[in-house]
Subunit: 154 residues, 2 copies
């Protein structure tokens, strides 16, 4: 048994037993050492973004003092949902180890497939409406960013 | 000018001027009233997940005491990135008003298109490797969840 995946699964089980959220855990590893570990806390924190991977990334960033985790890997008990996968992408983590896959997760009631279909443009009715508004004023803001001489790109 | 979009843009400008992060702001609105507003804090917090929409959702959930924000709408100065769009989906917000679009945002250096292409399976080299590991142990965990009699589904 992979030691890091064991920690991710133990985290998940602990969170589930404590009724913190769904049965999901994640671990951030840097050069063979655990930086952070977390479990889903959607229920206990009333935060729909409190997935294990998001919390583990936020903790690792706080511990390492940087948003770039490109020297880290993530171990997660289940295949990341699209939100977490994008968060992993923004954190610049390039290796993701996962236990159960998204079909396994869907089978126990956590289904990301609708959102994946939405991103792929496969849904007739995505159940979410995106409405463009005041683009001109928002573009002015982006131009100010472009012209900001001391901006830090990331 | 839409009053809520104005708040989102003002938030974005404030965050940019304070060097908190990129020029992005978001507002959560419930029945015509602002519940929360936030701006990108990736730089100031060293948190790659601290996008305006994520922070606004987290604040609104904390204020309302629930992860289900289906009675809310979100106004965001720029089209949400995939992470934020998925977070909006998990928060069950079904109406998204956005200012500049993803092409406008890409033009000033914040490009989500690679990730969108990845989700669509269009990339030969996604720059991210997903590796399956210890599925059996993770499946056991999911079975425990299935059998948990007092679980709260969400």
């Amino acid at each position: 048994m992979n030691a890091f995946m064991q920690i991710a699964i133990d985290e998940a089980r602990h969170g589930m037993e404590q009724d913190h959220g769904g049965p999901f855990g994640a671990v951030i590893v840097k050069v063979g050492k655990v930086v952070s570990s977390a479990h889903n806390e959607v229920l206990i924190s009333n935060d729909p973004t409190a997935h294990a991977e998001i919390l583990a990334i936020r903790q690792a960033s706080a511990i390492l003092g940087r948003f770039d985790l490109s020297d880290c890997e993530i171990y997660t008990s289940s295949q990341p949902c699209p939100m977490c996968l994008a968060a992993i992408y923004w954190a610049r983590i390039t290796t993701v180890y996962y236990g159960s896959d998204k079909d396994d997760v869907a089978a126990v009631g956590f289904d990301d497939s609708l959102f994946y279909s939405y991103i792929k443009g496969e849904l007739q009715d995505p159940g979410m409406e995106l409405i463009n508004l005041e683009r001109k004023d928002s573009l002015e803001l982006l131009m100010e960013w472009m012209e900001k001489s001391d901006k830090q790109m990331y």
